[in-house]
Symmetry: C2
Subunit: 187 residues, 2 copies
DNA sequence: TTTATTCTAGAATAGATGTTCTAATATGGG
DNA sequence: CCCATATTAGAACATCTATTCTAGAATAAA
């Protein structure tokens, strides 16, 4: 009951990401304009700037982790390779969320002043991902550091050469696969 | 002649980098406090916030490029490998500049309002680096995209897994070398 | 239709941060 | 020693941006 909302949260998150990319910073005025909502609506829904930033960040992080963890569990000739390729795929399929993950500093998205509940939610998601990575490394008999490089650092570094300005080149997956495979092979 | 300056530019750049890392943003008050200078001095030397940010950024970029280009010209069993390892070395030797390169968005450091001369200086440096990379790729018969990944994207992605919060692990060079070598080998 | 509830609207406000400005301070040369 | 020059100092100022606040609008239930 009550008046229905006139906007979707994701549209606001997208506006946050675009504002960050285009202006180099997030101004609420830019967000309200891009997402076509009033300051009143924004504060009614998100409570504060910190709340909005934190929600947008968590939305992107969780969306990525879902894909990443699913890929990590996929069987493959080179175990882990699908997870390494989850990053470029995510960038193609969810460009706004990817732009946020690639461009924003966690420090500026998760302010100390953000609601505790959101900090807890992010910590839970990160803990889950950490555990999955540790389990994978152990199962494969590989050092966790190397796994993190192959599955996260390398793919992120690769897409950051292009995003958020340019589209990803066609063969980026091939190069990521080549480098990741070298890291994932049993010594 | 005239009163001598009481501070070094590099100390101010370092304060900019630390402020960015610790607070998630650069506030002039934090910079003046950390570098122990007055607002008057800051404006006398840098003209504006945009000028300061641009100078700090260019200082870090140029310092890195000097090391990178020297490494790129070094002979090696795996041509290019020293350049790939220039990034972790730079992070160890010049942590403040590295923190800036790793944490800042170019967009926020090089404001449109920054002096044209600084924009030109950065463009010149970037052009030089671009040419060197292209020359290397051509000489090695490798696609430029792959070279950029091996020498820049991969090492950056690797160090970003740790910086600016944690120190680099000892064996990061080994892993970078392993992955970079796989990319740099002639197909 | 009436009422309770939820959301929208946007002008007004408060607070923070970049910038300016004038006086004071330190050096080298005449 | 005094002048010209360059730099420092920091309070006052101006601007910008987040936030608040009150009135109004849209829905469902009674």
């Amino acid at each position: 009951m009550g008046r229905p909302s006139s906007f979707a949260d994701e549209a606001v998150y997208a506006a946050v990401a675009r504002s960050l990319v285009e202006a180099g910073e997030v101004r609420l005025q830019a967000v309200t304009k891009a997402a076509s909502l009033s300051t009143g609506s924004l504060y009614h829904r998100f409570g504060s700037r910190e709340g909005l930033m934190a929600e947008a960040w968590i939305d992107a992080v969780e969306a990525f982790q879902v894909k990443f963890l699913a890929a990590l569990a996929m069987p493959s000739d080179v175990p882990g390779l699908p997870a390494a390729l989850a990053t470029p795929r995510f960038c193609r399929n969810a460009p706004d969320r990817a732009a946020l993950l690639v461009s924003a500093r966690e420090r500026e998205m998760m302010s100390d002043k953000a609601p505790d509940a959101l900090h807890a939610r992010l910590a839970a998601a990160n803990g889950k991902a950490r555990n999955a990575l540790s389990g994978f490394a152990k199962a494969q008999g590989l050092p966790l550091e190397r796994v993190r490089l192959a599955l996260i650092g390398l793919p992120l570094g690769a897409v950051r050469l292009y995003l958020p300005k340019a589209p990803l080149p066609e063969l980026i997956e091939q190069d990521i696969a080549k480098a990741a495979s070298a890291l994932l092979k049993q010594a």
